[in-house]
Symmetry: none
């Protein structure tokens, strides 16, 4: 969560001394950043360009964000519909995951994909951003999968031994892989086949484990 967010959600909004942060500047910076990102690509997204476009001093940007990636992350979070926090509930794990993955794949195959690619690339070079990206964005997505799996376990669809974290890896891993490596398209067919395989893998995992144990004897 960014400083600004923290301040806003502060239960005791003690009016600190000094001139308060300009909300117009904040908005202009985030909007300018997203505008440049959409129009000219992440390579063109630098602090000087954002500052110039937003009519803001570089110092003001650096005061609140440590790099352009953090600005984009903040925009992404602000843009994230709270309904996305709602876990789909179709009655089956297969349906839930389909419901979850299909829009994700669709979004990533469009403009959103380039943004995520850039942020993930950025995270490889900046550990501080990696941590923020993981905590503020990725973990929310993973949490949904965990919740879906937990519900399926209560329903008896999936054995209790199945780890929700592994399930999240199985779901998002291949999507990320295609997104970043670009060896194939992110389309509906892929989403269907991916979920199909993941669900089968989770359901029949006990059989596999048993067989592996037998092989180890």
């Amino acid at each position: 969560m960014s400083n600004a967010e923290a301040a806003e959600s502060n239960p005791a909004p003690r009016p600190r001394a000094g001139r308060p942060r300009s909300v117009e500047s904040r908005r202009a910076i985030i909007q300018s950043a997203m505008h440049i990102l959409q129009n000219d690509g992440y390579a063109a997204l630098n602090i000087e360009a954002i500052a110039a476009k937003a009519g803001v001093s570089k110092q003001t940007i650096y005061r609140w964000w440590s790099s352009a990636a953090f600005i984009v992350l903040e925009a992404l979070i602000a843009d994230m519909p709270s309904q996305e926090g709602l876990v789909p509930d179709t009655g089956s794990i297969r349906g839930d995951l389909q419901e979850l993955v299909r829009p994700t794949v669709r979004a990533l195959s469009q403009r959103r994909g380039a943004v995520y690619k850039a942020l993930i690339a950025e995270a490889q070079a900046d550990p501080r951003f990696a941590e923020a990206f993981r905590a503020q964005l990725m973990s929310a997505h993973r949490e949904i999968v965990r919740a879906v799996v937990a519900r399926a376990q209560l329903r008896g669809e999936v054995p209790f031994e199945v780890d929700g974290d592994l399930a999240a890896d199985l779901v998002y891993g291949p999507i990320l892989y295609r997104l970043l490596n670009g060896h194939a398209t992110l389309d509906e067919t892929f989403a269907f086949d991916l979920i199909d395989a993941v669900v089968s893998g989770l359901r029949y995992r006990d059989a596999g484990v048993k067989r592996a144990a037998e092989a180890a004897e």
Copy 2:
């Protein structure tokens, strides 16, 4: 494939006029690049630093490579053991994939991981490098999985409907995800669980498809 590779694999290495390419410079450049990469990280890997360390002019580097990433890619390929091209053959798809994934995961959890992270990040910003990375490195890994799956299909372990490409996505996707997102470690347990789930997913995929078809009615 880089210019250098193209020149080397040229079946008719017609000796062009002029001074031939210096093999010492080529070696020094690649070694210096890898040395900087290991010691100071990818962020410190720039052409000027490589040139200085290798005792080479920048021009010489630019003549043969278009960016530092290509140098690293060339080093990686040269370093890639030809035996890695061999498809493991343990008699079961589970064993084959275990044999394949365990050393991969081990390598990525060590120094090799940082190198891959950096190159994948670079690929997001440079489409030309992305293409080279995919063609020269990733495709080889994917091909092995496809071969393993094909053999398992002949053995009757896995239905023929299973797509080898999807299998590769299922295997490498989660690995890449953990590598890049860093939410969990790349260890033996993960490798085992991953393969376990993937194999189950591939084997029982028909059942899942059938059930999905039924649900669609």
Copy 3:
């Protein structure tokens, strides 16, 4: 003259409405400025540093001074011993000027020298400060020389044609020159030789003028 001085010397200090100026802040600002000047040099003397050291807001500084140089000037004036205003009276112009120049040279060869150098440099870039520096500091020094010369003229030591202003130039010019150019030290010997030459120059000036007039014929 600064606003502060004007306010203090205001014969009718009609108490304006509102919170009065904080004497602690004024003192802290001046002391902090001199402390920074002595320890880190004039280059490090900026408003932000003074404000931070004095525990004062920048606004408060800007309200009363237009630049750091004015703060230093105020400190210098406050520090200036009123006895320095006393014209030395040894009975001879030579003795008077020696009495005047020796302590000046000694002070300038120590810490005071750096302060003067900085202020004179500042005056070259800021005409408003130049005016203040001249009026509040330099003119006092020059006035003493003029008084000494006038007394010597009454005594008959120096012809009445001699201009007191030129005498001040002759006395302080070389001192300033050595201070700013740094080609030689400001020491007792220099002070003695300087005054010796100046006094001779002033005393026998008529001879020179007469000879010059003859040459002009």
Copy 4:
């Protein structure tokens, strides 16, 4: 002496490896600097402005000069007529010094004055520039006075005890003082009176010294 000067005067101009320094860039930088200085004043003379006007990169400027002041100094030296190195020879010390000081005073009262003021101010903040300014500019002026005095001593006009360095201080000190302090104009009258007093001071100095020695008894 700047690097460039050193290189030019190098008796063995060994053609060093690498691209040679661009003479056009050097010329453009110096001209642009002087142009800005004349038109907008020293306060507006910053590296970015010079680079922009000269169509040159900042790096190129920083490669050869450490500040704008050094550029101006180089321009001043290049502009310095070699005939200025010639010592005036009118047959009398009075005439020689008049010949020397009159054009100096005239130049300083015009555009040249602002340049000198700025450079002397700069020298107070930058010891490295102070050294260069002293060695490359001031020392030449002082040397002329020393030569004039030495000739006058051979002629018997001035006693041998007179120190040429003190003479230089006496001549240039008051000029500098008026230039920097601005309490009076630099005009012909001042030049005449100054030299008149200095010559008298130097000629009759023995009398003064004798009198001082008597006083010390």
